[in-house]
Point group: C2
Chain length 234, copies 2
DNA sequence: CACAGATTCGTATCGTCGCTAACTCCTAGC
DNA sequence: GCTAGGAGTTAGCGACGATACGAATCTGTG
């Protein structure tokens, strides 16, 4: 489906260029086809639809996003990586506002998986934090919180042209959400040490796995840990 | 400009209905005109443009939003009002997803002032909190934080159809942002009591004013208080 | 009442958009 | 050489946003 088609890639890049340069953040299929020197039906053969083209643009945007993340994260301090990840997210939004809105603004159609994959990246980063004992809630819950706050702050920043108090606002939001999700680094005075230990073991299982238990036993252990970390669940 | 025009109101309501019922959250000027039994040029005479119509729809949405807020807030506990305001915001987004996106998603054009007016409402609610000594930062900064988090959470909720862990996520986000912005209710162990006192006086001046000082003196006092509450400012 | 000016609305139309049917061309396989 | 199928083009359809222009209606004055 997505084999190495240079024409397809050229059309995606042309669409992204026009999306960024257009004043109303809109793109015309005719203009995209004309930019790469082909006719309209080739677009509809490659992407099936205009929304198919936009989904491809969004997925291509995720590729750049993931490359940017892979280049900067992954030190030995997962919490520091998390902070850098927030700032990198904001920088990506600032650098590509139109593409960012295409990726993260909820369109009722849109089969693009860009947002879900960004979420997966965030869950992975948070799982590393949980394995280090730095997380107070499950990685998935923390990821939903952080991503919603990050997107909300980024869209707010894109909306207003230059209200000049931006970095402070982003860092305030980052600290607010992180302090609610991470354990205090200095003192580990947690009210429920069982909860944190279960979270930590669960994350460690996700990261490295274990050969000491049979697969069925590991699955059951996972469910037990989940019942410990999220008690109120049907 | 916005005199009591029943035809104008009918077109706004028709547009809002079509916006809510349409699958792609889109509205056609022809359909709006046909719904109220007039022709296209009347739309362009009343609203000037399609974006003018959408701006009017967004402003009308703000009216309903403001009415909903005025009906529930304003008890004697401004912090409780703030919590109710967050939940009311989420309920409004859940009830009118298409209208909510029109109001709060950043469109590059859009002369609608709906978002700014919602921000003003939030600043007012936060000023009451500050006058009660419950705020740790300036009302405007807190409003930017809260609104960005609230919109981000609401858009995230609208995007995914039913990931069933919604109220918990909304309340988590609310607690995270509020705990970063409000003072701890039990103990008032603030690191900078001068800062909090200045914030409180500034809010009290905004709310009630004073006759003990001349207007010029009050203005100068305001600037001094601002220099105390936000030290790093050109 | 008559009439001029302004306002308001409908008819018809333009240019553009997303999208598709039908045809042509080029290449692979026997 | 011939055919089958993929890849591309031309031409066009219906719907959209927006507008020019004339008809109808209202308003105020003599």
């Amino acid at each position: 489906m997505a084999e190495n088609d240079p024409l397809r890639a050229a059309m995606i890049e042309a669409a992204e260029r026009q999306l960024a340069s257009s004043s109303d953040h809109e793109v015309a299929t005719r203009a995209v086809c004309e930019a790469v020197g082909v006719s309209q039906p080739v677009l509809y053969r490659l992407f099936g639809d205009k929304r198919g083209l936009l989904d491809a643009v969004a997925d291509h945007g995720y590729e750049r996003y993931a490359a940017l993340k892979a280049a900067q994260e992954q030190t030995d301090d997962p919490v520091a990586d998390l902070h850098a990840g927030w700032d990198g997210h904001m920088a990506f939004a600032r650098a590509n506002p139109a593409l960012y809105q295409l990726m993260f603004t909820p369109r009722p159609w849109s089969h693009s998986t860009a947002r879900d994959r960004v979420m997966d990246l965030l869950v992975a980063a948070l799982t590393r934090c949980a394995a280090a004992g730095a997380l107070r809630v499950e990685p998935r819950t923390a990821a939903q919180l952080i991503l919603a706050a990050n997107v909300g702050t980024a869209l707010d920043h894109i909306a207003r042209p230059a209200l000049f108090d931006d970095p402070a606002l982003s860092h305030r939001m980052r600290d607010a959400v992180f302090s609610h999700v991470l354990t205090t680094t200095t003192a580990q005075n947690d009210a429920d040490p069982l909860h944190t230990a279960a979270l930590r073991l669960h994350a460690q299982l996700d990261l490295t796995g274990t050969e000491a238990l049979e697969p069925a036993e590991t699955a059951l252990l996972r469910r037990w840990l989940e019942r410990i970390t999220q008690p109120g669940r049907g």
